[in-house]
Every structure is written in structure tokens, then in C-alpha cells.
């Protein structure tokens, strides 16, 4: 598993050169944005069940057959597995966001996910839709563009708009999962 710092190290080591001023500039940016990154991570961790449950409900609402007998979310045991997976994907996205690098998401979540779902007969199109909804909800909560109240308490107050860049980074991690399943 890598973070933004060790990613720079692995890249530099393959060239056999020390890490100099040019590479350090982006790392300094990462450190400077640390508070925003932490707030963005808190935006996920404080709304886990809300994000995952809404996404799965949304997926079911768009395909009501899923919860009917014979559907993929019937009986509740399978629906519960679906909710669990939503939370797991969200958890690895939160790790990647904190680390500033997708390697933890790739190694521990995405690798083999599609094969597992195919083997278990999970409909990929529906799984992708649920992840899309999670992405939209996460970005909205992070940037405080969700309708209704502000949904997270960051370390820095009123930082919603500041999280914009980090939110698009988070969206890219969801996109990574989506493209792995596509």
C-alpha cells in the first residue's frame, strides 16, 4: 500500500535519483491541503450508513424488480449483502482519499471484484448504479451542495467549498471502481 509520499519514493527509486525540489512541490501541496483532506474524509465517515443506504435504496427504486421474489435483492439476506458491499467500497474510498493515492483501493477492493461479482451472479449494471449514487452523494456532502442541512462537522469550520478539489479526487476513486466493474 502506498500514500502520496511513498508513491513519490517508489517512482524516484525506479530512476535511482533522490527526490528533489520539483517532486517535492506536489507533496508540499498535499501537506498544505491536509486539513481539507481530513475534512473530506470526515464527510464520508460521518455519513457512511446514510450514503450507502441511500445508494442501495436508489438502485432498488429504479429497478423495483430487484426486491420482488426472484430479484437479486430478494430475500433481505441478499439486500443486506448489498448494503454491506456499499459500505466496504466506501471504506476503501475513504482510505484512498486519506492516503492521497488509489493503491489501497486497487489492491484490497477492486482487484478481483468484478470476477467475484460475476461468480456470485451479482448484476454489474445495478452495482455500478449504486456506486454512482454513492459518488454523487459523497461529493454533495463534501462540498456542502447537498439539499438541506450541512451534513458533516470538519476540523475547519465552513470548509465545504474548499473541499472542491479533494471532492473531485474522491469522485475519481469511485470512477475507478465503476470502470473496474464495467
Amino acid at each position: 500500500m502506498l500514500d502520496a509520499f511513498s508513491r513519490a519514493v517508489v517512482t524516484a527509486d525506479s530512476k535511482g535519483t533522490p527526490i528533489g525540489t520539483t517532486e517535492l512541490a506536489s507533496l508540499r501541496q498535499y501537506v498544505a491541503d491536509a486539513n481539507k483532506r481530513i475534512d473530506a474524509t470526515l464527510a464520508i465517515t460521518q455519513n457512511v450508513s446514510c450514503i450507502a443506504a441511500d445508494a442501495v435504496s436508489g438502485m432498488v427504486c429504479e429497478n423495483t424488480g430487484l426486491t420482488q421474489p426472484g430479484g437479486h435483492c430478494y430475500p433481505t439476506r441478499r439486500m443486506a449483502a448489498c448494503l454491506r458491499d456499499g459500505e466496504i467500497i466506501l471504506r476503501y474510498v475513504s482510505y484512498a482519499l486519506l492516503a492521497g493515492d488509489p493503491s489501497v483501493l486497487d489492491d484490497r477492493c477492486i482487484n478481483g471484484l468484478k470476477e467475484t461479482y460475476l461468480a456470485l451472479g451479482v448484476p454489474l449494471a445495478n452495482a455500478i448504479r449504486a456506486i454512482e449514487i454513492m459518488k454523487i452523494a459523497t461529493v454533495a456532502i463534501m462540498t456542502e451542495t447537498n439539499t438541506g442541512r450541512k451534513m458533516f462537522e470538519g476540523i475547519n469550520s465552513g470548509s465545504g467549498a474548499d473541499c472542491k478539489d479533494i471532492a473531485s479526487e474522491a469522485a475519481s476513486y469511485f470512477d475507478r471502481v465503476i470502470s473496474a466493474l464495467s
Binding site: M1, L2, D3, F5, S6, A8, V9, V10, A12, D13, G16, T17, P18, I19, G20, T21, L24, L27, R28, V31, A34, N35, I38, T41, L42, I44, T45, V48, R91, S94, Y95, L98, A99, G100, V104, R108, I155
Partner: protein, 155 residues
């Protein structure tokens, strides 16, 4: 690769939990110290060749020596300094442990290398860091901690 952030994530993942507030506090703590680490890494990258050649000149002195030997020793010191540069960036001893120290004893024994020369060179670098000419006080402290770590591993 171990760093402050990946250690926190690994332990969170081991118990299948989201990063808690205390996890985040510990990550934040490592960010707060990052400025001096990165400063040290930057200055070390700039001065790495000079540090190497000065310490080697000191170790080999004015006695007669085999130039090929000295060149190899310079290559190794340069390698160790590069790993210290990486450690300063990650904020942990991961790069030194994984790429410098693991297996080092076996290699040194197999080739009958004189570790005393390495230790002398690294100690010279540690003692001669110019503050604030080479790097500032906090950066030098981070740099010297890692030099000591490596010297202890070689000793």
C-alpha cells in the same frame, strides 16, 4: 511501504473500520511535522554529491588508496543518502529498512566489506552538517536522526 498514513490505514483495515477521529489525529500529527522533513529531503537532494565526496575524502585521507575502492564506497554512501532522502519524504524508516538494511548484514559478510569506513563517512556527514548553511535546525535534526538509525544498523 510503511509511512505514517499507511500504518494508520492498515490497522483500520485490519479491524474493518472507517478512519476514526484518533486515526485522523495521528495522520494530522505527521502532516504537522512534514515541513521540516521535506525541507531536509530537498536540501539533502541538492547537497548529496557534495556530502558524499567530502565524507569520502575525509575517510580516505591522504594515504595511498585504490581509486576503484573509493569509487565503490562513494556509490554506496550515495545510495544510503538517497534512501535517507526517501525516508525523510515518507516520514518513516520504510525505505531504509526495506531497501537498505534488509539483507545488508549478509551482503557485507559475503563480500567482507569494511563497515567501519561506511560508519566513519556517515558520522562525518552527521557531524559536519552546516546549520543553517546546508539546512535549518529542525531539518538537520530529522536528517541526523536517520543517519544515526543507519549507523546503528551498520554497527
Amino acid at each position: 511501504m510503511k509511512s505514517a498514513v499507511t500504518t494508520v490505514i492498515s490497522s483500520a483495515d485490519a479491524s474493518a473500520r472507517f478512519p476514526t477521529l484518533s486515526d485522523i489525529e495521528s495522520v494530522k500529527g505527521s502532516f504537522d511535522r512534514a515541513a521540516s522533513r521535506l525541507e531536509a529531503a530537498e536540501k539533502l537532494a541538492i547537497h548529496i554529491d557534495r556530502f558524499t565526496s567530502e565524507s569520502l575524502d575525509y575517510v580516505y585521507g591522504s594515504q595511498s588508496y585504490d581509486q576503484a575502492n573509493k569509487d565503490k564506497c562513494a556509490r554506496d554512501i550515495n545510495h544510503y543518502l538517497r534512501l535517507i532522502n526517501y525516508c525523510l519524504v515518507t516520514g518513516g524508516t520504510g525505505p531504509l529498512d526495506e531497501w537498505g538494511i534488509a539483507g545488508m548484514r549478509e551482503v557485507i559478510r559475503a563480500h567482507q566489506l569494511p563497515t567501519a569506513a561506511y560508519i566513519e563517512a556517515l558520522t562525518y556527514i552527521r557531524d559536519k552538517v552546516n546549520i543553517p548553511g546546508d539546512m535549518n535546525q529542525q531539518a538537520a535534526a530529522e536528517f541526523k536522526t536517520l543517519l544515526d538509525y543507519l549507523i546503528n544498523a551498520l554497527a
